[in-house]
Amino acid sequence: MTLLQLHNVTKTFGEIRALNGIDFSITEGEIVGLVGPNGAGKTTLFNLLSGRFRPSSGRIIFAGTEITGLKPHAICRLGISRTFQSSRPFAKMTALDNVIVGCVFGKGFYLRPRREDKCTALEILGMVGISHKAETLAGDFTLSELRRLDLARALATRPRLLLLDEVAAGFSPVAVKQAVKLVLRVRDRGVTMLIIDHFLNLSLKVSDRLIALDFGEKIAEGPPGEIMKNRKVIKAYLGLRHEEEHE
């Protein structure tokens, strides 16, 4: 079924048009990569989807419900969760507590953390591979561990759609391989994913489909193989000269 639909979504900040008339949809169970050079509007799109900003115009529909302009906590309760480019851990809390926060608030509010929350949190930490550091303060983590913690926290809210923001940026090929395995494991849990990937290392390997943005507009959409050969995409990343070379 169609999980997410964007209809003619536009976002302007004063004079700057960050996103212009974006249209696409995502089916449940897909892994879609969102690619494009810096400044293309990918993170802005995430901010719209997660509720941090309101679209200037257009509509966003998630699982049949209109979510345009809803606040972040409401969108989270409906089932969309995200990670951050800069991870944003709760630095003075342990990794376990970071994830427990996600368990506790993802779907509602009650007075004290429950046993199940702790168990679920431990399980998720195990899945992303940092359960050995459950009791360490998040502020002391390495970059790769932080990314995984961010992912764990987002998963703790039991999302249907997960927005991953540059989760493999700066990773070595070995680390990318591990990231691929992790993403597939997340898909096996039944989570649909939209992945921002500027570096084109992760998304090429896991995505069913790529959507390419440039200067706030969608310039291409299709399977990874096709997109990588798409002239507009090459031009966006590498510039005019390279486009001519390919002719």
Partner: protein, 338 residues
Amino acid sequence: MQNGEEPNKIISIEKNSKPRVKRRRVDEGGLVLLFFVLLLLPVLVRHDDYILQVFTHALLLATLALAWNILGISGSISLGHAAFFGAGAYTSALLSLESGISPWLTIPLGGLLSSGLGLVMGLICMRLRGAYFALATLAFVEIPRVITDNWDGLTRGSLGLVGLPGLPSLHLGSWYIHIGSSVAASYYLVLIHALFLSGLVGFIFHSNLGIALQAIREEEIAAQSIGIRIERFRLFSLLVSAFFAGVSGACYAHMVRYIGPELVYGIHFSAAPMIFALCGGRLTIVGPALAALILYPVDQFIFHPLLPAGHEFLYGAVLVLVVIYLPRGFWGSIRKAP
């Protein structure tokens, strides 16, 4: 988050021994020792009224600091908590003076009114973050102060209110304890209040409310994206904080039996809780209370005799030192030290 048993954890995985258990026992031992000293203080000082009164006042400031820190958990810094302290003081004073209602009732009513004032402040200021929120609280306290100062008909204006009823008496079966007239009894009342509030703050820290507030303090945007309603939690913590600040103010009114707008809405009661909480440690449960119990007596016993005018510089000096050299506060540093 720290308390007596489970440091650095919301839920501990194992309660067995850890490498740091030895240090924890020292901290906790210290707290237990302090508890007994406080419990037996009247006996220890051989009922020296002056010393007891200083420590009673220190405990009152401790309750104000604990109340302040309920808001402080969320990362918000209030520079105008005297607004709530004073509102509680005046409400309780006026109700008990004019209507003869027992302070047992007017003190919580004072807390309620302060909470209402907190609601007003919250509705206006909750959108503000960090520095701007602090500035708003700095300005906000002027409003109840000036209103109280000018509304002569109700509050006697800048003359203040005198002859307030003392702390209420307690009937326990055939026992009749005049708390107001007994220095030791007043001391114990405030001590119980402080212990109760410490327990409450500890409960909040470990509850989902406390978790949410800490997440909000750490990373507001991430907290929002995992389902935490920022404004609602901050507002709630402000309401609770204002309530207990008001209760402290009301207790103060009935202890000293005189209040005036410059006094209860003054900078002393805005600065004190903030300074104690920061010096003790905003991330700890009892840090603010400990700082009050140390700094206020030091001020009164050591510096006041030396410098009858200007002895409160101590608070400013300690704050500056803590902000620069010991941002976790002294108790926070002890708790967190490896």
